[in-house]
């Protein structure tokens, strides 16, 4: 343990001999050095101007990390500005560790989604677990206690050789980490598509509860205050993770860059969580930031930048777990479970006591200065001496070339043919249903590895097929004893690929529909924008359109974006992933006792399923008018088209009809107010017919008889439209019909289930064995060993 550091130390250190500058030559070694650090020639010129001479190697590493896409958002910033980010419930908007939105009275929710794609493809177990760890720290370093985790996963085709390697390991990584820290994993989404064959996506989302007067931010305020290192000792793992995450894969690189992979220790995270919340509760800390991407570098620069101060570090004081670590390694390590705290010197003894109780490594490593510079010494040598702002607020911003909008393809003969075959070829239609179940069926092999109940707040989880519902009980919300938080996350990447602006808007809409179906009202949005290379103008067109689509949806639905993350360069050998703007929406409900699952839970009572549909849509389909009028139900980028091997670029999506979406929300709310709902499922991927089967799928094994009355392929497999599948007590049907009619909606009987052991699912394309469908449904995940 070291004594305090004073400003005198910092002043003295500034006079230490400087580390050697890198030598600028015409040699291949020099250009390799820049390439390795992903610093362009122009960027190096800028470094020369900032520094006044060549940087030291450590400084070059710092520039590389801070100016990486991952840390600086240099290609995305100009677009992200277009998001609507304000609203009456917004307490903290984008730019902080997590966004904060007001739930009830003083009680708020801090939440964010973040990607950990590149590490997860190289080493899925550690990549996925440290992804969970990172987002947890973003939330609890603000002082919020995490109460729910979600994850959105995208993998290559199930038949691709790497997929069965990645899936079980990523799932185990997510589970082992969240389970140990003690935060329930309550939802998410998963899909498989060939565009992810060389680049999987692991996006993790955390929500925490926080009082509005207890929100901490990452400010290095108060000249002379101490900078304290807390958490696991620093090792050589994850060095330059941020730079790696800003690079695309080339075939040969896979598996060679394991030293850039961080290694997680959820037990250390649990201790860090408890210690952090305790020191924040006791007001021992002025500023705090987790050491995430680019570790000590980004946390210190960002905290100093926000407070417009300088910081001095003596790296000899940093707890390390490897011998002879250089300044370069210590500053750029992404060892996990670490925090940087800024404290008043008088609070040190009390802080130390808490950290000792939780058995965390800790030391004073620096002091806040008024120099506006980051000065770092190691072994008596000044390794870094840089002004702070050029690396943070004034980091480069690029307006990357954006390709002109793509011409709409309009009508597609291939989609038309698909529809005809599904209508006329009953074997093909039956096969499409079974394959749809196998493609998107039960996630139990995944979620049964996640502790979903710890914290005793979980009301609805992944087993209920829709949004997650959490029951918030606290002193602050005593007046609303059944207060709930409703959460949904996901994105249909095929629809985004087809028409990014509409597909991205639909991603927000999909989450809001799920929240509505469960019984909540949306409050705010987080996003995790996974795209291909920023240097590909077509990718930037997808990115820009997606931002516009999300913005439109947020304005139409009155839900601001409060936090988010961008992951670019998701491409391998020049092939970019489908644009995947993953959306997380958080909502509230007043009474969790009125929450409805998206599956039918009784396995005794027969039930009838109704489809809630806008009246005009009902008429429109009957006359089979599938032109580009709003709200058309169609096969564009549908699951049926995917299973038929069609590209998702066939045809084009119809614009969202926000008016009928809002009518559907109102109708749903009115039904809920009248206590008429048993189960509700929003119609999404695979259409209403697949929706019916999935609503009842857990019961297929019991050999029931199910009758699905849709007479046409479009009605059964078509996607789109403000439609919900609803189960309600039969005696209330007339009442329900008159309620929804006030909102321009109709309720139409579409299916029945009876538990009569007849083992048959009747459809317009014939009868199928319920047991056989059950097998397909339960074989959806490429995870073995779990029966």
């Amino acid at each position: 343990m070291h004594s305090e550091i004073t400003l005198a130390h910092a002043n003295g250190a500034a006079k230490f001999p400087q580390a050697a500058c890198i030598s600028i030559t015409e040699s291949p070694e020099f250009s390799a050095l820049l390439k390795q650090h992903k610093i362009s020639g122009a960027e190096f010129q800028k470094i020369m101007e900032i520094k006044g001479r060549a940087p030291t190697l450590t400084e070059l590493g710092v520039f590389s990390a801070m100016w990486s896409e991952h840390c600086s958002y240099k290609s995305s910033r100009i677009h992200l500005k277009r998001f609507p980010t304000t609203g009456k419930n917004v307490v903290v908007g984008p730019g902080e560790n997590a966004g904060v939105v007001r739930l009830e009275g003083q009680m708020c929710i801090a939440f964010k989604m973040e990607s950990h794609n590149h590490p997860s493809y190289i080493e899925p177990y550690q990549g996925a677990s440290t992804g969970v760890g990172g987002i947890l720290r973003d939330v609890f370093c603000m002082g919020a206690r995490p109460f729910a985790n979600l994850n959105c996963l995208r993998f290559g085709e199930k038949t691709h050789p790497r997929t069965p390697f990645l899936v079980p390991r990523a799932v185990k990584g997510i589970g082992d980490y969240g389970n140990c820290v003690g935060v329930p994993t309550v939802g998410g989404s998963i899909s498989y598509d060939k565009s992810y064959n060389g680049n999987c996506l692991v996006n993790a989302m955390t929500l925490g509860l926080i009082r509005d007067d207890k929100i901490f931010k990452g400010f290095a305020t108060g000249v002379g205050n101490l900078v304290v290192y807390v958490g696991s000792a620093t090792g050589r793992d994850g060095i330059h993770g941020a730079t790696m995450a800003s690079d695309s894969f080339a075939g040969a690189a896979q598996g060679t860059s394991k030293t850039t992979i961080q290694v997680g220790d959820p037990f250390a995270e649990k201790l860090l969580l408890e210690a952090t919340l305790e020191v924040l509760e006791k007001n021992l800390v002025i500023g705090i930031q987790d050491m995430g991407a680019a570790g000590l570098t980004s946390s210190s620069f960002e905290m100093a930048g926000r407070a417009e101060n300088g910081v001095y570090f003596d790296l000899d004081r940093v707890p390390v777990r490897a011998q002879e670590m250089t300044a370069y390694e210590i500053m750029l390590s992404e060892s996990q479970e670490r925090m940087l705290m800024v404290i008043e010197p008088k609070k040190w003894p009390e802080l130390k006591q808490v950290l000792q109780k939780w058995q965390l490594a800790h030391d004073i490593i620096g002091v806040v200065t008024n120099t506006g510079r980051m000065q770092v010494t190691r072994n008596g040598v000044l390794e870094i001496d840089l002004p702070v702002s050029p690396l943070t607020d004034d980091a480069p911003v690029y307006a990357r070339p954006v390709a002109p909008p793509k011409e709409k393809t309009g009508e597609s003969s291939l989609l038309k043919s698909l529809e005809q075959r599904l209508d006329l070829n009953f074997d093909f239609a039956a096969k499409t249903l079974t394959r749809a179940l196998r493609e998107t069926g039960s996630k139990h092999k995944i979620y049964e590895q996640f502790d979903r109940h710890i914290g005793t707040k979980s009301v609805l989880g992944p087993e209920h097929g829709g949004a997650a519902v959490m029951w918030i009980r606290s002193e602050e919300t005593k007046q609303t004893p059944y207060l709930g938080v409703v959460i949904a996350a996901g994105c249909n990447e095929r629809r985004v690929k087809n028409t990014p602006a509409i597909g991205a808007a639909e991603a927000v809409l999909k989450c809001v529909r799920e929240i509505t179906a469960a019984g909540g009202r949306p409050l705010a949005v987080t996003d995790c924008l996974n795209f291909g290379s920023a240097e590909d103008p077509n990718v930037m067109r997808e990115f820009s359109d997606s931002v516009d689509g999300i913005s439109e949806a947020c304005r139409e639905l009155d839900v601001p974006v409060v936090s988010g993350n961008v992951s670019l360069y998701n491409s391998t050998d020049g092939v970019s992933i489908h644009p995947t703007p993953m959306i997380g929406v958080v909502g509230r409900m007043d009474d969790i006792r009125k929450a409805t699952p998206a599956v039918y839970t009784s396995n005794i009572e027969p039930a009838e399923i109704f489809l809630l549909t806008p009246k005009f849509l009902l008429k429109q389909n009957k006359v089979a008018d599938h032109n580009n009028s709003p709200q058309t139900v169609s096969f564009v980028a549908s699951l049926a088209a995917k299973l038929d091997g069609l590209e998702c670029t066939e045809g084009s999506l119809a614009a969202v009809d926000w008016e009928s979406e809002r009518s559907a929300f109102q109708a749903m709310e009115a039904l809920r107010g009248a206590d008429l709902l048993i189960a509700v499922r929003s119609v999404g991927e695979g259409g209403a017919g697949l929706g019916v089967v999935k609503m009842l799928a857990e019961h297929l094994v019991l050999s029931p008889s199910i009758n699905i009355q849709f007479q046409h392929a479009t009605d059964f497999f078509g996607e789109g439209g403000a439609r919900y599948l609803i189960i309600l007590p039969p005696q209330f049907l007339q009442n329900a019909k008159s309620i929804v009619s006030k909102f321009g909606m109709e309720l139409e009987a579409v299916a029945k289930i009876k538990f009569d052991k007849k083992n048959v699912v009747q459809t317009y394309f014939g009868e199928i064995s319920a047991q056989a469908l059950s097998v397909e449904f339960n074989s959806a995940q490429p995870i073995g060993g779990l029966g």
């Binding site: 185990k172 140990c180 037990f267 049964e448 979903r452 109940h453 710890i454 979980s458």
Partner: protein, 228 residues
């Protein structure tokens, strides 16, 4: 308020806290909401328990469950006094990791191995108690496969120490309803004097219909409190 609850609310219950415990708050919350008991948190480094009527060893990943689940916690200073407490007839309830700790401390017999599936399993299960009642509540563990050799299993049975067995909803104790491969579907066991109960399922997570549809955990907690 029932007289029974009044009697319960005066009970002094301690909930142990190890580094990595994570069901401590849930236990405290369940006792407060349903039994009006204000439990005391007891830190693992304390060498002596405060004056208590009962001890709960909660679930979690004590010391990260590195080495073996519960193995390190069993050697924490507080466990020596818990052992003395149980030997004097004190009531102890170990849930999940708490059960693992009680077994590693030799307060209860047997051992808990990795699930047969070699994966963590979180799901709702049914349990048959000694009177034949079937209770529904969740499990969430990676190492919950109870094992004991044949001779000791016979002793467990003879002494009436098998508290809960995994069963079907109808109460059949069969292989299909055994989630983790435990010997004889054992989900929880008593000590000889029935004062110590260790179980893998989580009663504190089934204390409201809103939480996954079951409040059968209250039956377990009430039985435990009544035995104090």
């Amino acid at each position: 308020m029932s007289p029974q609850k009044d009697a319960a609310s005066s009970l002094r219950v301690g909930v142990l806290q190890f580094p990595g415990s994570n069901c401590d708050a849930d236990c405290v919350d369940a006792l407060r909401r349903h039994f009006q008991i204000e439990a005391t948190l007891v830190w693992h480094q304390d060498t002596k328990l405060p004056k208590l009527d009962a001890v709960i060893v909660p679930g979690g990943f004590s010391f990260g469950d590195y080495l073996r689940s519960g193995a390190l916690a069993a050697h924490a200073p507080v466990m020596q006094d818990v052992k003395r407490f149980s030997e004097k007839g004190g009531a102890v309830l170990g849930i999940c990791n708490g059960f693992q700790i009680l077994v590693e401390s030799k307060i209860l017999p047997g051992i808990l191995l990795h699930n047969l599936s070699q994966t963590f399993i979180c799901k709702t299960v049914h349990l048959k108690d000694q009177s034949g009642n079937v209770l529904t509540m969740p499990i969430a563990h990676g190492e919950g496969r109870f094992y004991i050799d044949k001779k000791d299993l016979a002793a467990l049975t003879d002494e009436g120490m098998i508290a809960y067995q995994y069963s079907s909803l109808a109460g059949e104790v069969d292989e299909a309803s055994n989630p983790n491969g435990s010997v004889s579907n054992i989900a929880g066991i008593y000590s000889k004097n029935k004062k110590v109960l260790g179980m893998m399922p989580h009663p504190e997570r089934a204390t409201d219909v809103a939480m996954g549809g079951s409040k059968d955990g209250l039956v377990v907690l009430r039985n435990f409190i009544e035995r104090i």
